[in-house]
């Protein structure tokens, strides 16, 4: 009886494995395979171009390279600042969108509209608006707020990556906001009412009651945004400076360098990006588990 049941369970397992095989194969071959081959190349193993010795030279060289460290700092700055600003504005807009008001549906539609617009389109929009020759600069010139378009502060290809951050904030507010709004609506306003009637003012009720209740959602949405903005290539490539460039751009530059010897460094950079993203996801999962336990 027992044996029969075991074999039945075994058969079930086998059929699940067979059914999952295609998906697993894709993940293993393309993702893990790519990761493994990238890792090998980052260790200076690339027989095709005559590199056969395993060593950590590429890692040593990037971590001692001032340019790489500047890129790392810049990438952190972009990801952290965009995520922070987008999260704060997203929570604020979710709070504004929560109560019932006339035309709420339309406002909500426009709020979530740019979830559907590709990042690239946003980047082009930022270019048109915020370049020195862009629309904002020309309007300000027209209004005599600045003398010449060239006086407009650099917001694209600038050292502070303002254009990149604007684009990310614009794109990610509705992403975080829609999640936070859903949580706000499910939590309801009664907890706040309790807090108010117990003597909390508006700010205290938000800070002590509403924010902790929505925090798990805010954290999970913003970690996704951070990991994305940390590893994304196209926006810093279009709106950023060439030097220092964001890490994904730097990795791409090294990879396409005519000097094949730069390949291991490009791979090492990609590994660092992957490693940091993985760390973030693990930290996020741990954080969210702590919240759930509480």
């Amino acid at each position: 009886m027992n044996r029969f049941r075991l074999s039945e369970r075994g058969a079930e397992r086998l059929s699940i494995s067979v059914l999952l095989a295609p998906a697993v194969a894709v993940i293993v071959l393309l993702f893990l395979g790519g990761l493994a081959s990238g890792f090998l190349r980052s260790l200076n193993y690339f027989p095709l171009i005559g590199l056969n010795d395993f060593n950590f030279d590429a890692y040593f060289s990037i971590f001692t390279d001032n340019g790489f460290l500047q890129s790392l700092v810049l990438t952190f700055h972009i990801a952290f600042t965009s995520t922070l600003i987008a999260s704060i504005l997203a929570v604020a807009s979710a709070l504004l969108l929560r109560p019932a008001f006339r035309g709420k549906r339309i406002v909500h539609f426009f709020f979530s509209l740019n979830l559907t617009i590709p990042h690239l389109v946003g980047a082009i929009g930022v270019l048109y608006l915020f370049q020195n020759s862009g629309l904002v600069s020309r309007i300000m010139t027209g209004l005599d707020l600045i003398q010449r378009p060239a006086d407009f502060p650099a917001m694209v290809f600038d050292p502070w990556a303002i254009g990149i951050i604007i684009q990310y904030v614009w794109k990610e507010i509705p992403f975080i906001g829609v999640i936070v709004l859903a949580i706000l609506l499910s939590v309801g306003e009664d907890y706040e009412s309790v807090a108010r009637s117990l003597g909390a003012n508006r700010w205290q009720a938000f800070r002590q009651v509403t924010l902790p209740l929505i925090m798990p959602g805010v954290v999970s949405a913003s970690v996704i945004v951070f990991a994305f903005t940390f590893g994304a290539f196209e926006i810093p490539y279009l709106l950023g400076r060439t030097f220092p460039a964001a890490l994904p751009v730097l990795a791409y530059q090294s990879y396409t360098d005519v000097d094949l010897a730069a390949r291991p460094q490009a791979m090492a950079m990609a590994m660092v990006i992957a490693f940091i993203s993985t760390l973030l996801i693990m930290a996020y999962m741990k954080l969210s588990r702590v919240y759930i336990r509480e």
Binding site: D190, Y191, S193, V194, A195, R196, S197, L198, G199, A200, N201, Q204, Q208, V209, P212, L213, Y291, E294
Partner: protein, 358 residues
């Protein structure tokens, strides 16, 4: 202690619907326990939220000790509301939940700690400081919610259906606890309920609302003895109604003429109401008529009879010992004690003023 006055209080959520609360006038006495009673959707909770400052009235005024508090923010009113579903803050310990109001008032930590302990003793849950709300039963959460409200020494305590989520046994316990604490602390307390028994058992005074309108505001026993309308008498259950004409202290009905010194109407078409337990079976004399026993049920602590008098059927509830005295089909005298007859108007118009007696 605070006296709460509601004056013409009205709340309209949506022009398409009738007002949730309609021109409500109420004097809630200082230090007393007042029940807002009514079927669900009658505007009880809305009234309470307006007192707490969580909803803005459409018109009318709310006064604490004679001063309007409409412009005072909820956190400064000192009217603390305890919600039906407790709403303990899930991520805080029990101690932090109870101490919340004091923390908002920036009381120092040491004092908060000792007052939280006092509160836990008061609600008979000592040692619960470090637990989380989800580790507590519904009854325990309810008590913590009460402690969290009481710790700030509110001027007015507002309880929204405080017993409805509890099972029968816990309900009795909680009822005793609320009554005891309320008496000890003398806090003006308003509680909302849809259960007339709960209102009668617990409250000093009951305000009955139907459809956002005040029907009667009285001591609990008045709702049984001298209800304002047939509707109210029916809400409080099981009364006999016999239509007739009232004039000079007597009511003339199809089954006879009865002395009825207590009446809500001076004269005219009226309804005689008498509760089943006030009907005396087997007694003749004045104010009595002859009836036929249709059926009876023995229910242990009492017996219930269906009696036909003329074309009218009434119900009588008697001592269990009387069951054997009457058999189905017997013709017996039925007496209505004049002091227990209450004469009501027939119209549906409400009579919010006190009763006429004569």
């Amino acid at each position: 202690m605070t006296q709460v006055t509601l004056s013409g209080l009205t709340k309209i959520f949506d022009q398409k619907n009738p007002p949730a609360v309609d021109n409500l006038d109420l004097e809630i006495e200082s230090g007393k326990l007042t029940a807002l009673l009514g079927p669900s959707g009658c505007g009880k909770t809305t009234t309470m939220k307006m007192i707490a400052g969580l909803l803005r009235p459409t018109s009318g005024d709310i006064l604490f000790d004679g001063d309007s508090i409409l412009s005072i923010k909820p956190e400064e009113r000192g009217a603390v509301m305890v919600f039906q579903n407790y709403l303990l803050f899930p991520y805080m310990t029990i101690a932090d939940n109870i101490g919340f109001g004091l923390k908002m008032r920036k009381v120092n930590k040491k004092e908060i700690k000792s007052r939280v302990q006092d509160m836990l003793d008061l609600v008979q849950l000592p040692g619960f400081e470090e637990r989380k709300p989800n580790q507590l039963s519904g009854g325990q959460q309810q008590r913590i919610a009460l402690a969290r409200a009481l710790i700030v020494q509110p001027n007015v305590l507002l309880l929204d259906e405080p017993l409805s989520n509890l099972d029968a046994h816990l309900r009795d316990e909680m009822r005793v606890l609320i009554r005891r604490i309320q008496t000890e602390m003398g806090i003006t307390t308003v509680f909302v309920t849809h259960d007339q028994e709960e209102a009668v058992v617990l409250a000093d005074k009951v305000a009955l609302l139907f459809d956002g309108r005040l029907q009667q505001f009285d001591a609990p026993d008045s709702f049984y003895d001298t209800p304002n309308t047939v509707e109210i008498a029916t809400f409080f259950g099981g009364t006999n109604f016999i239509p007739g004409y009232y004039l000079d202290g007597t009511i003339t009905t199809d089954i006879g003429v009865f002395d009825a010194p207590h009446s809500l109407v001076p004269e005219g078409n009226a309804v005689l109401s008498i509760r089943p337990e006030a009907v005396d079976l087997g007694e003749g004399g004045e104010n009595s008529v002859s009836g036929t026993v249709l059926s009876h049920v023995y229910a242990g602590r009492y017996a219930r009879f269906q009696i036909r008098i003329g074309d009218i059927e009434i119900e009588a509830v008697t001592e269990p010992g009387q069951v054997k005295l009457f058999a189905d089909g017997d013709n017996i005298p039925v007496k209505f004690d004049p002091d227990k007859i209450w004469v009501l108007g027939t119209d549906t118009e409400k009579h919010p003023s006190a009763a006429y007696t004569g």
